[in-house]
């Protein structure tokens, strides 16, 4: 392997490559690579924004971002979408801990409290927010209250997304479940719900209702907790350090779920998220239990459907599992007032576009739009808007919140009951033992 016969020696090639690389590095000083390696940071007028919106939500958010960019041609909006759930919050936390946070990020309100406890969020000064209209009376009261931790504001709510009931209008009409005006008859007891599902199953020949089970702890948790909260139960207390699961109430709800799915065959016992959507979209089930964000999906598939708040089954005070998306400012000691002004302007611009956001199914937290006639005309999205005031968020705890270990533990156990793999009693003891491991641990925040 000699190089004697070659015209260009290896040394020359290496020298040339080294010079080229150095030149490229020097000329690319403004590039993302150079600024990342050298730690310079992005150019002055860039606003970095992280969110976790994929799918239909993502498309709406991108449209809103483009409107903002068009209105502010002198600024560069650098928006990044990350995978929903733990991956997003891990990256947000680590970026903040490593002093490289985005300027503004989305956070579920149930997670914002953990981030605030961990000291990763910048407290918001309400006098600083006032000039932008970001004041208490402009937001849904339940969300605005949840955005405060120990009396300090940490987040600006964007929306509330509760668990809702989708119903196929054709199937329900044939099953005699609709009122004269086309709305669903009130299902205000477990018996009424069961009867409705039986009637729907007769029409479809397959199922009465569907809720996704496989690989989907979140949907199962939301289904269970809506009914459990309606009975007045809680799961965690003392910031997650105490388990206050009411066995009797949990057993009541789990028995109803098992009855509907396993005993009476009114709901599928093995279906994943896309499968559940297909089942409802193709008319194999008359009802679909899920959050409201799939409205655009069924409009695209031209399924004849309507939506309403999830029924109040036990005659008590209404409650429904929900969470809210909000804007948070990750802690950054180097943030200037000018940058803060930029961020608040961006947040206000997003809230101004609540009409676009609401088309994705979420109930906008921005009251000027929520109370408007325009939103009232937006059907079926505005059918359940009153549920925002009865939103029940996940019990606070360092391992709780949307997409958290808490939801996974509860959701997988409930899913096992829905799938006929566990009895309600076994599921409850499974929940207790898994939660105990977390509850007995010294919280890291």
């Amino acid at each position: 392997m000699s190089t004697e016969g070659h015209a260009v020696s290896r040394r020359t090639v290496l020298r040339g490559a080294g010079l080229l690389g150095l030149g490229g590095l020097l000329s690319g000083c403004g590039s993302a690579f150079a600024s990342g390696v050298a730690g310079i940071g992005p150019p002055k007028n860039t606003l970095s924004y992280w969110n976790l919106f994929g799918g239909g939500d993502g498309a709406h958010m991108v449209a809103m971002q483009q409107v903002y960019q068009k209105q502010h041609p002198n600024e560069v909006l650098d928006a990044v979408t990350l995978a929903w759930g733990n991956p997003y919050y891990t990256k947000l936390s680590l970026a903040t801990l490593g002093s490289r946070p985005p300027d503004v990020g989305i956070s579920h309100l149930s997670r914002a409290s953990i981030l605030a406890d961990a000291g990763l969020l910048e407290p918001l000064n309400e006098t600083e927010l006032a000039p932008y209209g970001l004041i208490g009376r402009n937001f849904t009261p339940a969300a605005w209250q949840k955005a405060h931790m120990n009396g300090t504001l940490y987040a600006v709510p964007l929306d509330t997304h509760p668990f809702v009931l989708y119903y196929n209008t054709d199937i329900c009409k044939k099953a005699g479940l609709l009122n004269a005006d086309g709305s669903l008859k009130s299902l205000d007891s477990p018996e009424a719900l069961t009867a409705a599902l039986v009637a729907a199953k007769k029409v479809t020949g397959a199922y009465g209702a569907v809720a996704s089970i496989n690989n989907d702890a979140a949907t199962q948790w939301r289904f269970f907790s809506t009914l459990y909260y309606q009975l007045g139960g809680s799961v965690l207390a003392d910031n997650g350090q105490k388990i206050v699961l009411d066995d009797a109430k949990a057993e009541k709800v789990l028995s109803l779920i098992r009855d509907l799915a396993v005993k009476q065959g009114l709901m599928p016992t093995s279906v994943d998220y896309p499968g559940a959507i297909t089942t409802f979209a193709t008319g194999k089930a008359g009802f679909f239990f899920e959050g409201e964000w799939e409205v655009a999906t069924f409009q695209t598939t031209k399924t004849p459907f309507n939506m309403t708040a999830f029924p109040n089954l036990y005659g008590g005070r209404y409650a429904v599992q929900a969470d809210s998306h909000s804007f948070v400012l990750p802690k950054d000691p180097a943030r200037t007032d000018a940058r803060r002004a930029l961020i608040f302007g961006f947040i206000r611009s997003m809230l101004n576009q609540s009409s676009t956001w609401a088309q994705g199914g979420h109930i906008p937290a921005w009251l000027p739009y929520q109370d408007s006639a325009a939103y009232g005309k937006l059907k079926p999205e505005s059918n359940y808007k009153w549920a925002a005031d009865y939103a029940r968020y996940d019990d606070p705890g360092w391992y709780s919140g949307s997409g958290s270990d808490f939801e996974n533990i509860m959701g997988f156990a409930i899913g096992a009951v829905s799938a006929g793999q566990m009895s309600p009693a076994a599921a409850i003891s499974d929940m207790r033992s898994k939660l105990a491991q977390y509850a007995n641990t010294t919280p890291p925040v």
Binding site: Y89, T90, N214, D272, P444, V445
Partner: protein, 313 residues
Amino acid sequence: MSIQTIPVYADERATGTTGATKRRDESRSGWGLTAPFLIFYVLFLVGPTVYGIVMSFFNSSLEHSGLGGFAGPDNYTQALTSSDFWQSMWHTVLFTLMTTPPLVAIALLLAIFTDRLARGRWFFRLIFFAPYVVPSAAMALIWTWLYTPQIGLWDSWLSAVGISNPPNWLADPSWAMASVALATVWWTLGFNFVLYLAGLQEIPRNLYEAAAVDGASRWHQMRRITIPLLNRTTALVLVLQIIASLKIFDQIFLMTSGGPNYSTRPLLEYVYDIGFTDFRTGYAAAASMLYFLLILAVSLVWFFVSRHQQKGA
């Protein structure tokens, strides 16, 4: 076996320096040349490992600076009694058991096949090694697409041959680990293949000729000449493969996120979830120390086996 030649320092007498001074000079320049790497090594490997050992005895948290409250052996006790820890350990061991035999046997077979080729050997070397240079994220993306239910390539091929209801490869707890294992075998086969190919080319050809003259069949030759003379390569491949499989994280994290229902979560992902998502770095350090002991045990087994082999050679 290969023959080593020991270089003779001819210049020692020529320059007139004595052996001792020469050796001291060489030793000093040796230290000097390795100093940059040693500094890096101490700063970025030894230092953090020691810090990790210390941290595992405290309730360290990611978002507090410092070590946190003293926990003594509590982190280790919690890890050893945690079902999640043992299940993750089992998933890692299961993955190792599923991937190591195919990765050793198939690599050997492919290497023997390639070695026998008179022409076009470069082509097969290329196609068998090419997957190895693909980064884990790209490989995970490709295989996730292959495994997509109904519209992925796997399922459309299976339906073309009449299997219309295949399992959900990545979302079914009984199939997820096997699916990731298959993707991994495709991905990392090339490395063992290249090691075996090199080992095969060291076997002298005249052994085969002598055996053929004595009337040995091809199969007999492979069993009595090829495989025994590849023992050292096989030992190397085996231990490298086992240690690499025990360190599994990338593919499972990217393809199944440890799911479904945590049924594929390996130990390293458990450490990541606890340490970075839950902020509990002290406990995560304890779990990873226990895991380090396991890998150390495997390495020690190889160390003694190879020392035994060297003595026997």
